[in-house]
């Protein structure tokens, strides 16, 4: 199966196999007019299987959202068919309005205008806690 290389755009590589669709929706790629290729279950020397997303346009990507969803992703920025920048993601220290606090006792459960902000509290286990009630994000 062949998917042509892109000339100008972004390639999200090393996506954990099976995660491509979640990332596709989380980044709002379904709302783009440009070509987007979703490649699932590619062979990978490093990961066994992986997914890849190719976006045939330069768009603003929320790297914090991406890092939270899958910190193993590599983001390649392509211009004139060449990689001009590459970012290896890690878990972000803080995420805002990416996930919602589910603790019914949290102030965010009654005050709707508040942003849902979580901070990384355990990098090894990838645990995030709500800044208001400190409940962990499940």
């Amino acid at each position: 199966m062949l998917v042509n290389p892109i000339k100008d755009g972004i390639v999200l590589d090393h996506i954990k196999a099976g995660n491509a669709m979640e990332i596709y929706h989380a980044l709002g790629l379904d709302e783009l007019d440009c070509q987007v290729a979703i490649i699932k279950n590619c062979d990978s020397a490093k990961m066994g299987k992986k997914d890849i997303l190719k976006i045939n346009e330069h768009i603003d990507i929320n790297l914090d959202v991406l890092g939270y969803l899958d910190p193993g992703i590599t983001v390649n920025f392509i211009k004139d068919s060449k990689i001009y920048d590459r970012k290896h993601l890690e878990l972000p220290m803080e995420i805002k309005d990416v996930i919602k606090c589910k603790n019914p006792r949290c102030i965010t459960s009654t005050e709707q205008e508040l942003s849902h902000i979580f901070k990384l509290s355990n990098r090894e286990k990838g645990v995030y806690r709500c800044i208001y009630c400190e409940a962990s994000a499940k």
């Binding site: 006792r105 009654t110 005050e111 205008e113 800044i131 009630c133 962990s136």
Partner: protein, 304 residues
């Protein structure tokens, strides 16, 4: 402009400084009687808490200041649907400092993000109660003469007890603390407290089911209430209930200079007979709570 939302907002040096001020207030109360003259404390209590509110109010009066506020949500604009953010902005126009109790966890943090005056968390749901922790620390310091090199036992409901979690967090900064966690299986300390505080800070700790076994080693015993409603069946509760009631018999093997603390209110987990034992410190703890709140109000108002 500083607020106190979580005990972790204070450095060890700042806690030591507050304890030093509180001790000086105890020794020389008249020196502090006009320190906050002309200042107003707003006690915004969205749920009833007589003792904490009275402690804050007494603290402000003894500093020569004034108090305004409400003691339940029904008598505030919250009953009309006003947000915590707006309430704190409005109250900032009337008062110099806020003490807030709220049933929702994180409400005082929201208040501090919106108020233009300092906010003190006077308890937010089952989450934080930093001035109780300061009262606990002052009591330990006054009774033991130190906040390092001692063994403390926490007994009772260690799963839901916010005062236990906050005190463990505060003690994690001090050297050579040994913690003995005494609770039924149903109410053991949550894993995240073990992983993110005890293990992370290399604090020696032991978990046990028996108060009697732990007793001889303890320098401080922090009692909490085992509530029947936390158990899935009543038989388990009745079987375990008496194991976690402190009485004179259980104190027979305790050190002579043990300090017994309890955040109160007590129901039956400490026998009334223990009250007359010189090791009982829980009523002194209440008094210490007022003095440390005086020190805190002065610090946040930057009164010298």
């Amino acid at each position: 402009m500083r607020s106190l939302i979580d005990i972790k907002d204070l450095s060890l040096e700042e806690i030591d400084e507050l304890i030093e001020t509180a001790n000086d207030i105890i020794e020389n109360p008249e020196k502090y009687s006009q320190k906050c003259k002309g200042k107003k404390l707003a006690t915004l209590f969205f749920e009833p808490s007589t003792r904490t509110r009275l402690s804050f109010e007494a603290a402000m009066y003894e500093l020569g200041g004034n108090v305004l506020g409400f003691s339940e949500a029904n008598s505030s604009s919250a009953s009309k649907g006003e947000s915590v953010a707006d309430t704190s902005r409005v109250v900032s126009c009337y008062a110099d400092i806020i003490a807030m109790r709220h049933p929702k966890e994180g409400a005082p943090l929201v208040a501090s993000q919106n108020a233009s005056i300092p906010v003190i968390n006077a308890g937010d749901g089952g989450h934080n109660h930093p001035t109780q922790t300061l009262a606990d620390l002052l009591t330990i310091k006054r009774e033991k003469g130190r906040l390092d090199n001692f063994c403390i036992g926490f007994c009772g409901d260690l799963k839901f007890g916010r005062t236990v979690h906050s005190l463990i967090s505060a003690l994690s900064g001090y050297k050579n603390i040994k913690i003995i966690l005494i609770s039924p299986n149903e109410l053991v300390i949550p894993d995240y407290i073990k992983e993110e505080i005890l293990i992370k800070n290399n604090i020696e700790f032991v978990e046990t089911r028996s108060l009697e076994e732990a007793m001889p080693e303890l320098d401080v015993l922090y009692m909490t209430r085992v509530q029947g409603e936390r158990f899935f069946n009543e038989a388990d509760y009745i079987r375990l209930r008496d194991s976690y009631i402190l009485d004179l018999h259980k104190l027979e093997n305790a050190k002579k200079d043990l300090a017994i603390l309890h955040p109160l209110p007590r129901v039956n987990e400490i026998s009334v007979a223990v009250d007359d034992d010189k090791r009982a410190c829980y009523f002194k703890q209440v008094l210490n709570g007022k003095f440390i709140r005086m020190a805190l109000i002065m610090k946040l108002l930057e009164v010298k």
